[in-house]
């Protein structure tokens, strides 16, 4: 039997949808008994949410005031302590999971795979390399396999009818003080989350100014969509970094992705290729974004935006 441990991601109040998607990846491991672990300041309510997810055996909660803001340096030794009992330890390939998991894996000498796209067996996995331009199939020979999961490639596990048991775990390792949280900024709570939104509207360098980029927000508001951006738009200062989609930035998988004024560098395409439908609007008929777009429109964005806004009203 395989024993799979899923590391929950949350904001202190709610489990992130990335948790249920990571769980779904874990469920693809054959003959698996799956546990979810919640590291939190006061995690009992979060653990209760996790306990309702389908296909799990138990939930482990580690309550520690040091988890009020998650720090890899603090969580990793605690996770490593638990991990030795498991064959697989998965976390979402978000900045939370990508920061934490290698640190924990190294502490117990485990192998890690990053950005798992598909599970072929308990030891064979598929993952993208070269910014999504190649897909490698790897076989891992290790007692414990750590993996970050490309959440855009998995649907969220459903809720179950009955909750499983929650047990509290008290780590033996003492907390470290060499890493201290100072602050976080940029959370825009009033807008759909880029990584779980059904619709995403994104803009690129062609907007030419932060002022012009506001039209993307207006369009997104009309559609109830999340806002994304290319690296060029972020580097030009039109929008903050957390809106960046691509190899650096977020990987997304909305039902509908509308790219306006984005040329489609391979680094950007790496982050959108899981989208169900890609619409590209660009003035340059040869822009690489049209190679992966399901629907392409060659047009000047400043001509098209007012029309789109009218149509979406």
């Amino acid at each position: 039997m395989n024993r799979v441990l899923i590391v929950a991601q949350h904001d202190g109040d709610q489990l992130a949808s990335a948790t249920a998607k990571t769980l779904q990846c874990g469920r693809a491991i054959p003959d698996a008994q799956i546990s979810i672990v919640v590291f939190a300041d006061q995690g009992n309510l979060l653990a209760a949410q996790a306990a309702k997810l389908e296909g799990i055996y138990e939930v482990i909660v580690v309550n520690d005031v040091a988890h009020a803001h998650p720090l890899a340096a603090v969580i990793a030794p605690q996770l490593a302590e638990l991990a030795v009992e498991y064959t697989h330890v998965f976390a979402p390939a978000t900045t939370f999971g990508k920061d934490l998991l290698p640190r924990a894996a190294a502490l117990i000498g485990a192998v890690q795979l990053s950005d798992i796209f598909e599970v072929a067996s308990a030891t064979v996995f598929r993952r993208f390399i070269h910014a999504g331009n190649a897909l490698e199939t790897v076989e891992v020979n290790a007692a414990v396999i750590f993996g970050t999961v490309r959440v855009a490639s998995f649907v969220a596990a459903n809720s179950a009818e009955k909750s499983v048991l929650v047990r509290e775990y008290v780590p033996k390792v003492s907390s470290t003080s060499h890493t201290r949280f100072v602050s976080i900024s940029g959370k825009s709570a009033d807008r759909p989350d880029l990584q779980s939104a059904k619709y995403v509207v994104a803009g690129g360098r062609a907007f030419a100014s932060a002022e012009n980029f506001k039209q993307i927000y207006e369009l997104a508001n009309l559609l109830g969509a999340a806002v994304g951006a290319s690296r060029a738009a972020v580097d030009s200062g039109f929008v903050p970094n957390e809106l960046q989609v691509g190899q650096t930035g977020k990987t997304i998988a909305p039902q509908l992705y509308i790219a306006i004024g984005i040329s489609g560098a391979i680094q950007h395409v790496a982050g959108i290729k899981d989208s169900k439908t890609i619409v590209a609007i660009n003035m340059d008929a040869d822009a690489p974004i049209f190679e992966i777009a399901d629907i392409g429109l060659v047009a000047d964005l400043f001509d098209v935006l007012p029309e789109l806004k009218r149509a979406f009203k």
């Binding site: 920061d99 924990a104 390399i129 070269h130 190649a134 949280f181 957390e242 429109l297």
Partner: protein
């Protein structure tokens, strides 16, 4: 005490060249493709040099692990301004934990206050080495750095995270991994290239470092990514809206 920064770099396929995959699944086409320094590592070197130029560090040592051709990237780093270089020779593809173990040996030799490296290599896209080194070293990590402010014994690092910008204080020594917006690396000038030839470059083997090598990740095959079905072109917004409605993507 001298304050030293160790920068770890890796050689990758030139990321501006299109990536192609061999039809038989044996791997990515490397023949005829030029190599370059991993762009995130270039940012790490630049940042280390800026810290030194501000007077907050005395020495920048750059290191890489790989075949002898990797010395090209070390020479480029020396031409940018690094003081010395270490080349750990290996022809094998090394998994991140092994790279971290090798870097730990270099850390023990060099005693740096900061180890800086790119947040990921753009070929294998693992993004693990910095965090693994920090774990093995028992020191703090600050990944995805977009700003670094040093004071006596700590670094205040702004990190690009999914939620926005996070600021951490880490005690030194520490591992910092660099993100795109930290800086823009300088161009190398010709006189610097000539000068770099005279800078010290030490070659070491895995044997000399006491590293035994056993790969636990076996690549079975490499394929082109699944192709999307060919798309259509529309001529105007109205047509676009009609198609979206037909496909039930809009009401």
């Amino acid at each position: 005490m001298t304050m030293k920064i160790l920068v770890a770099v890796t050689r990758v396929l030139d990321y501006s060249a299109p990536v192609r995959v061999h039809a038989d699944g044996r791997g990515v086409v490397t023949e005829g493709v030029s190599r370059a320094m991993n762009p995130f590592d270039e940012i790490a070197i630049e940042e280390a040099l800026r810290i030194k130029e501000r007077g907050s560090a005395d020495e920048v040592v750059v290191a890489t692990i790989g075949p002898s051709a990797c010395q090209q990237q070390l020479r480029a780093a020396l031409a940018m301004g690094a003081d010395s270089a270490i080349h750990v020779e290996s022809d094998a593809t090394l998994e991140p934990l092994l790279v971290a173990r090798i870097l730990l040996k270099l850390v023990e030799r060099e005693q740096p206050a900061i180890v800086m490296l790119g947040k990921q290599a753009v070929d294998r896209d693992h993004g693990q080495t910095g965090q693994m080194l920090a774990a093995l070293w028992g020191r703090p990590q600050a990944t995805y750095a977009s700003e670094i402010v040093l004071s006596e014994a700590t670094a205040r690092v702004t990190r690009e995270v999914d939620e926005g910008l996070e600021i951490l204080d880490v005690d030194l020594p520490a591992v910092i991994t660099t993100d795109l917006r930290l800086n823009e690396p300088r161009f190398i000038k010709l006189p610097a290239i000539l000068k770099a030839k005279k800078k010290p470059l030490t070659a070491l083997t895995l044997n000399e470092l006491g590293i035994e090598y056993e790969s636990r990740i076996k690549v079975l095959r490499v394929d082109a990514p699944p192709a999307r079905p060919p798309g259509i072109r529309v001529d105007n917004v109205q047509e676009l809206i009609n198609v979206l409605k037909d496909r039930a993507l809009l009401r």
